[in-house]
Amino acid sequence: GVATKPAETKSKKDAAKGGEAKGETLSPDVARDLYYDMYLGREFEEMCAQMYYRGKMFGFVHLYSGQEAVSTGAIRLLRPDDYVCSTYRDHVHALSKGVPAREVMAELFGKQTGVCRGQGGSMHMFSRKHNFLGGFAFIGEGIPVGLGAAFQTKYRREALQDESADQVTLSFFGDGTCNNGQFYECLNMAGLYKLPHIFMVENNKWAIGMYHDRATGPSFGDNVPNIYKKGEPFGMPGIHVDGMDVVKVREAVATAVARARRGDGPTLIECETYRFRGHSLADPDELRTKEEKERYAKRDPIPAFRKYVLDNKILMEAELKDIEQQVVECVEDSVQFAEASPKPEKGQLLENVFADPRGFGTAPDGGYRYEQAGFTSGTAQVS
């Protein structure tokens, strides 16, 4: 009676990983992993921008550059069988969760080899294998979905008496999303049912052209809004963390993960961060001031972490260079892979509409439609 088999077995390193995050210095292994992941996030996104301008990808493409410390700090701490749920700004969360850059890039190129076979696109990355739940284009709608995964863990523990069920789910979303009702509905349910769910708010101060302070009222007595203060009224700790500091994020998330695994319930973490690019590649980005951009550019999490590991002698310059080189190759490889991959066949059009193809119904001349010759050639009108 176990609901799902974890996609991968639990990492043995889990305990160690959580361990160092309580103020101790990072191990070189962990530091390497974090640097690689942040650097990959940045390089991947910058490559996306290039590819977009070269007409290799279309639609709304939301880049993550600037916010890497959040994705890396949080997700690299997780076990493979933990869950992550994202938004339209999902490439880097997917990469951090282990989805190969090749598959993400190929998805963006609209190729068969893409992680969703070219059917999802930039805003809809999913990877079942990596417990990566998507990729949601609409504001807030991923939060209940993430909550559902956390609920499954709780259900396995409580209803199916599976003591080993201690997976944690992290749902990521932005400051603007915190004004949507689904956020609060889920805070309440998470608190009520003590779900192992972490609300990861990436407060980059803007929701497209809407400045955070114009969208969100401050708490009574405050002059500026503080999203983390929305945690306590819903029965969970609300934590504010510097989202430009990967170590701090990792520490905060480690505490929340431990709490969730213990069965003590959810945590709300507000990460102060910034996006270094427009909202999407279609955004003229005219409203954010130069001063503001410069202020945050100075806090770029990647050079900051680079300096940190060098200063603390955790990694050496040569190692970092090596990582950088590896990342560049990986991203380059992802582009070549995507470029060389075939486009979807027309038959793909109808293949994933229904998990059970009886959903296409019966035909006037008898039998289920999907059984008819040529049905998945993609030319059959569904009606």
Binding site: G1, A3, T4, Y83, G114, V115, C116, R117, G118, Q119, G120, H124, F126, S127, R128, K129, L133, G134, G135, F136, A137, E141, I143, P144, V145, G146, L147, G148, A149, A150, F151, Q152, Y155, E158, A159, L160, G181, Q182, E185, C186, N188, M189, L192, E351, N352, V353, F354, A355, D356, R358, G359, G361, T362, A363, P364, D365, G366, G367, R369, S383
Partner: protein, 327 residues
């Protein structure tokens, strides 16, 4: 072995929960209260509060939670206390129940059932008298099923729970106390097949849910006059069982659609279009469609009655299409 429809539905839920520990019910008052129409009455005593999950009043989020849980292996039955309330969950139903299997390239399934009471009851007012099938039918990737008898309510719900597709399952507020028998054993009725309620020759009446009984009331009278309509209960509102429909239309060459749905954008509109388009040469008469008036459902009894189709209108339409009365 006679029982009421709510009891039959409850049996379906009970048996499927017994059979598969991943099946659970999510919704408002589905636990302690036992469901607003008793479909989960006392089941929490047997299966516990986690499997009969009483939720706060937040349709969009508990629907989305159901989607997430389904993606990772559970099989939630999400109840809309009244189906109308699921308008608040429209986004989760259309975007995520409906499309996520596709956008994920087939990686994630969403095996969930969305069910509850709908339709026009007795003077419940406009908001509690919704016909969600008209709003939901355009959503890709979901199946829409409407039960109508004690027997099919149980055997269809069992199938819906076992289906790997998201199924929106319509019950009718006025049918919960209908009496009848269920099929013995672990019977699951195919979700995509219509029911031939009554064979006939003079015309084909296509209907579903409570209107099945409005039609049968009319047909009883027509019988006496020697008119023999074939009556088909669609069961599957999406997709249509075109096999059964085509067969009947080819036989009778005359079609009347009787529905409680809105005239514009309703199930009947889609059905009428498909029949006229694909069986044009098999029709001796234009398809006739009896639907609700395109108005919000008023509270006052007479206005409510004037909004939905009455047996006399069905009889009149049959008379017309069979040439018994001057058109």
């Amino acid at each position: 072995n006679e029982k009421l429809m709510w009891e039959a539905l409850r049996e379906a839920v009970d048996e499927e929960m017994e059979r598969d520990p991943n099946v659970l019910v999510i919704g408002e008052d589905v636990g302690h209260y036992g469901g607003s129409y008793k479909v989960t009455y006392d089941l929490y005593k047997k299966y516990g509060e986690w499997r009969l999950l009483d939720t706060p009043i937040c349709e969009n989020s508990f629907m989305g939670m159901g989607v997430g849980a389904a993606m990772v292996g559970l099989r939630p039955i999400v109840e809309g206390m009244n189906m109308g309330f699921l308008l608040l969950a429209f986004n989760q139903i259309s975007n995520n129940c409906g499309m996520l299997h596709y956008t994920s390239g087939g990686q994630f399934k969403v095996p969930m059932v969305v069910r509850g009471p709908g339709g026009v009851g007795r003077q419940l007012g406009a908001e509690h008298s919704q016909r969600l099938e008209s709003y939901f039918q355009g959503i890709p990737g979901v199946q829409l099923v409407a039960c109508s008898t004690v027997a099919n309510s149980k055997s269809l719900l069992k199938s819906a729970i076992r289906s790997d597709n998201p199924v929106v399952f319509f019950e009718h507020v006025l049918l919960y106390n209908l009496k009848g028998e269920t099929v013995d054993g672990d019977y699951c009725q195919p979700l995509e097949k219509a029911e031939i309620v009554r064979e006939g020759t003079d015309c084909t009446i296509l209907t579903y849910s409570r209107m099945r009984y409005t039609v049968l009331t009319a047909v009883q009278e027509l019988e006496k006059k020697g008119v023999h309509p074939e009556v088909i209960d669609l069961i599957s509102l999406k997709p249509f069982d075109m096999e059964a429909i085509a067969k009947s239309v080819k036989k009778t060459r005359r079609v009347i659609i009787v529905e409680e749905c809105m005239k514009t954008g309703g199930i009947g509109a889609s059905l009428s279009a498909v029949i006229s388009e694909s069986l044009f040469d098999d029709l001796d008469h234009e398809v006739m469609r009896l639907s609700s008036q395109d108005v919000p459902t008023a509270y006052a009894y007479d206005l409510e009655a004037a909004t939905i189709v009455q047996p006399e209108q069905v009889a009149e339409a049959v008379g017309k299409i069979c040439g018994l009365v001057p058109a």
